[in-house]
């Protein structure tokens, strides 16, 4: 008996295109291709007709014309004489600033809350559950608006800080006179260098050499410290005795950076009330603060859930085994539980970072000048180039998202379970 595995021989019939599995997938794909091509050509035809009717064209040349508007928060030099492309850069930097600080803050909050939610302390566990549920189930827009309204309407006006002879000022500065929260913004001290090394012009913006030097020294300290710890581990493997490294680490971290800061003449310029407003220091806009606080608290609730799920996914046997080997609780967490939990935590963490970055576009609610505020807001309205601006805006967000997810995927692959 032969098994009927031979393909039926015979002439090709048209119905085989649909019923024969050898051809069906090609039929479907060709039909899909034709439909997609038709839809695309229809859309492009409409686009061309509509643009022609309005007398417009697709041209990105507007990016190199004068922007003519001011931006209230700029990380690099910008005036209203700069180009629209420059405004785009300012917006992009503002977006990235709030996104990166937000991710950092949200991670801190999320990890803390996630672990506390598993605490054996009944009260703390319940409080953290309430925090997570309340923040997860209410739109983030509400937290942004509420934070902004509270910051601008509850805080005192700058002149409440005015010191009049023999009278107590109406409002006090915090942290020993270094931080003042007014209804115009938060004034914080500004780090300055009296023996500054100057700036390097990168063509697009200036980079402070002082900052580069500090970063270089910190990276150096980190590398030296890692070497010290590695050599300690080698000694331990060879002799069984681990040499004490804590004082070396402390020395490595506590000496070079402060010495560099001293050499550069590091000091803080405190904000002070003069005339009608604060001078000196940095004024942080409330739109930035509100956005940062709201996004990190909101996303923190989601990260807390991811952390909790990750820690709970590790079977209690792992902890018990570590205790049986005599590891103390701290090292059990650091060496046994966390490395395993991280694998579970990282994928949802990536998607939360992505969500936070995309949610920075809600800056529109508090008029923070992010990418959408400059490129997708004022530039769009001034030049009337909706199509180009929206294409650029979506493209940039897409690139940011893809970069974050690919970087985090590389990290995820590095800590992934290495299976045999």
């Amino acid at each position: 008996m032969t098994i009927a595995s031979e393909q039926p021989q015979g002439s090709f019939r048209l119905s085989m295109l649909v019923y024969d599995t050898r051809f069906r997938s090609w039929t479907i794909q060709i039909v899909v291709l034709i439909l997609v091509a038709l839809a695309c050509s229809w859309l492009i035809h409409n686009l061309v007709t509509n643009l022609a009717a309005k007398g417009k064209d697709i041209d990105f040349g507007f990016l190199w014309t004068r922007a003519g508007y001011d931006i209230n928060q700029r990380l690099v030099a910008y005036t209203n004489d700069s180009t629209h492309a420059r405004a785009l850069l300012i917006g992009l930097l503002n977006t990235l600033l709030v996104a990166s600080l937000g991710c950092l803050l949200a991670t801190v909050i999320g990890v803390m809350v996630g672990i506390l939610r598993l605490s054996s302390n009944w009260l703390i566990a319940r409080l953290m559950t309430v925090y997570v549920e309340v923040f997860r189930n209410i739109p983030v827009l509400l937290w942004i608006l509420l934070a902004f309204v509270i910051l601008t309407e509850v805080t005192p006006p700058p002149n409440a800080f005015k010191v009049v002879e023999g009278k107590e000022p109406l409002a006090q500065m915090w942290l020993d006179g270094s931080v003042a929260v007014t209804n115009r913004g938060t004034n914080i001290p500004e780090p300055l260098f009296s023996r500054s090394l100057g700036n390097i012009d990168l063509g697009i913006f200036l980079v402070s050499v002082d900052l580069l030097a500090i970063i270089a020294v910190m990276v150096g300290s980190f590398l030296v410290n890692r070497r010290v710890i590695r050599s300690a581990a080698t000694t331990q493997e060879a002799t069984g005795i681990r040499p004490a490294t804590w004082w070396k680490s402390a020395l490595i971290w506590a000496v070079p950076v402060p010495v560099l800061l001293y050499v550069l003449g590091f000091h803080l310029a405190y904000p002070a009330f003069k005339g009608f407003n604060f001078t000196g220091g940095i004024q942080v806009l409330h739109s930035f603060t509100a956005l940062l606080i709201a996004l990190s608290i909101y996303t923190g609730a989601f990260i807390a859930e991811a952390v909790r799920a990750g820690v709970q996914a590790i079977s209690p046997g792992q902890t018990e085994a570590a205790y049986a080997l005599g590891l103390p609780a701290g090292r059990t967490m650091r060496l046994v539980v966390l490395p395993q939990a991280l694998r579970v935590i990282i994928p949802p963490l990536i998607s939360q970072y992505l969500n936070l970055t995309k949610n920075t576009s809600l800056a529109i609610a508090v008029s923070y000048m992010d990418l959408r505020g400059t490129l997708g807001g004022i530039t769009l309205n001034q030049t009337g180039r909706e199509l180009e601006c929206m294409l650029l805006l979506m493209g940039i967000y897409l690139v940011i998202s893809l970069i974050i997810s690919s970087v985090m995927n590389i990290y995820n692959n590095a800590v992934r379970l290495k299976e045999r």
């Binding site: 409409n46 409080l127 827009l141 608006l145």
Partner: protein, 439 residues
């Protein structure tokens, strides 16, 4: 051994000792407090910290709630009443604003005499949802669920009933075409036939046919234009429609992404990754600014409809990824079992793969739905009056209520919380009900 044994007194207990009462420190509230709140120095510190936090929050919130004012004409009057009743330093909630403005929060600027229509649609929604959500109810009710979308849109926007009847007729015809074709040829041909009927019907038949019947037999209610919509009416309309639309679309996208056909797979991946890579706001801006460029000149396209389409597409990309996870979690044997039973692709999906994959992805799907419902507040940025920003801005712009901020946000937040929390609890119930312990 034996000598020693001989000298010892033999003792065997023949009765049980009566159970003793546990020591006082090991029972009742004392034990619970010690174990749960004061089991060690770290725990004691945490408890004290927690109590302090609780005290700080409660001592601000409780008096504020206790001193609520429900009858006032303006914020100033509210504050006067609070100051008169509870002293000059007391703070109190001014719920009088909600009392005066709640119709706006619920219906936006919907005509007041027509409030019964959205209310009726909302109540009927529960009747339509019940048989979908709870399997214990009679299956005949599902017919009502199928008719409900048309009925609800008619009630909300008004106009001639015939238009919606003709739309429903189109679905019936498409279904009939599908049944007819599926008996003679494959599922794919049948699906294409149904789609062709639907497209042809909506392009050529709906408007003339509806107009014709309307002329012969006029039956219409007062139409309401989209700019009158607002508040939770708007949120729920957009939210429910987009939720209902995004699930099937998401399933199709997930299947496309796992398809063997390279072109279908590539298109699905590109679509999903693009939508997931951009913020919803930009997608909404595309709906409000750019859509007119891509449609034939002079096409009028309702803004709420545009927003609903965009929100559906946006949510579908996220749901597709969730369902893809569920599909990936299914053991390969399930697919092979379906093949060995001789099922074709759609039969296998419908009877074997999807029921299991969807069950696995319930938590993710529901949290996508919750996210979508929360995101309906973003429609404020394309000029619609959502309850959170749109209506609250209207209220805060009123001279009487200028400067009010806690009350509107607490009110809107509480309603969002109730709905979203309810959805997440329902997903837990569904997970429990569908749980089979064989996995």
């Amino acid at each position: 051994m034996s000598e020693i044994h001989a000298q010892t007194v033999r003792f065997v207990r023949e009765t049980m000792l009566p159970p003793a009462v546990p020591p006082r420190s090991e029972a009742g509230a004392v034990r619970w407090l010690r174990e749960n709140l004061f089991s060690g120095p770290v725990n004691i510190a945490l408890t004290i910290l927690g109590l302090a936090l609780l005290y700080v929050v409660l001592q601000a919130v409780v008096p504020w709630l206790m001193h609520s004012v429900w009858n006032a004409k303006s914020l100033g009057e509210c504050r006067e009443i609070v100051a008169q009743t509870w002293g000059p330093d007391a703070s109190g909630a001014c719920w009088a604003m909600i009392r005066e403005r709640w119709p706006q929060y619920l219906f936006g600027f919907y005509p007041q005499e027509l409030y019964w229509r959205p209310t009726l649609a909302f109540l009927l929604m529960f009747v339509a949802l019940a048989p979908v959500l709870f399997s214990g109810l009679p299956r005949g009710l599902l017919w009502f669920s199928a008719v409900y979308p048309m009925l609800a849109f008619w009630l909300l926007w008004g106009g001639a009933v015939w238009w919606w009847v003709v739309v429903a007729l189109g679905f019936v015809l498409a279904y009939a075409a599908f049944r007819l074709a599926v008996q003679r040829s494959s599922t794919i041909i049948a699906g294409a036939a149904a789609l062709a009927v639907l497209v042809g019907w909506s392009l050529f038949a709906i408007d003339p046919l509806a107009a014709l019947i309307q002329r012969v037999l006029p039956a219409s209610i007062a139409p309401v234009s989209s700019d009158r919509f607002g508040g939770f009416l708007l949120s729920i309309t957009i939210g429910i429609t987009a939720i209902a639309g995004s699930l099937p679309l998401g399933i199709l996208l997930a299947l496309g992404r796992r398809s063997d056909m390279p072109l279908v797979k590539m298109l699905s991946v590109a679509f999903i990754e693009f939508i997931r890579g951009v913020p919803l706001i930009t997608v909404l801006f595309v709906a409000s600014l750019l859509l007119q460029y891509f449609l034939p000149p002079r096409t009028q396209f309702d803004i709420i409809l545009r927003v609903i389409i965009m929100a559906t597409i946006f949510a579908a990309a996220y749901i597709a990824e969730v369902i893809r996870g569920g599909l990936a979690a299914l053991p390969r044997g399930q697919y092979e079992a379906a093949d060995s039973l001789g099922m074709d692709y759609w039969q296998a999906q419908r009877l074997i793969i999807m029921p299991q994959a969807l069950k696995i992805s319930i938590p993710g799907i529901v949290s996508s739905f919750i996210g979508l419902f929360k995101d309906t507040t973003l429609v404020a940025f394309v000029g619609l009056n959502d309850p959170l920003k749109g209506i609250t801005q209207v209220v805060r712009a009123d001279m009487n209520w200028k400067g009010i901020y806690w009350e509107p946000y607490v009110f809107v937040g509480a309603i969002f919380f109730l709905i979203c929390f309810g959805m997440s609890r329902y997903s837990m119930y569904l997970e429990r009900r569908l749980k089979r312990d064989n996995r």
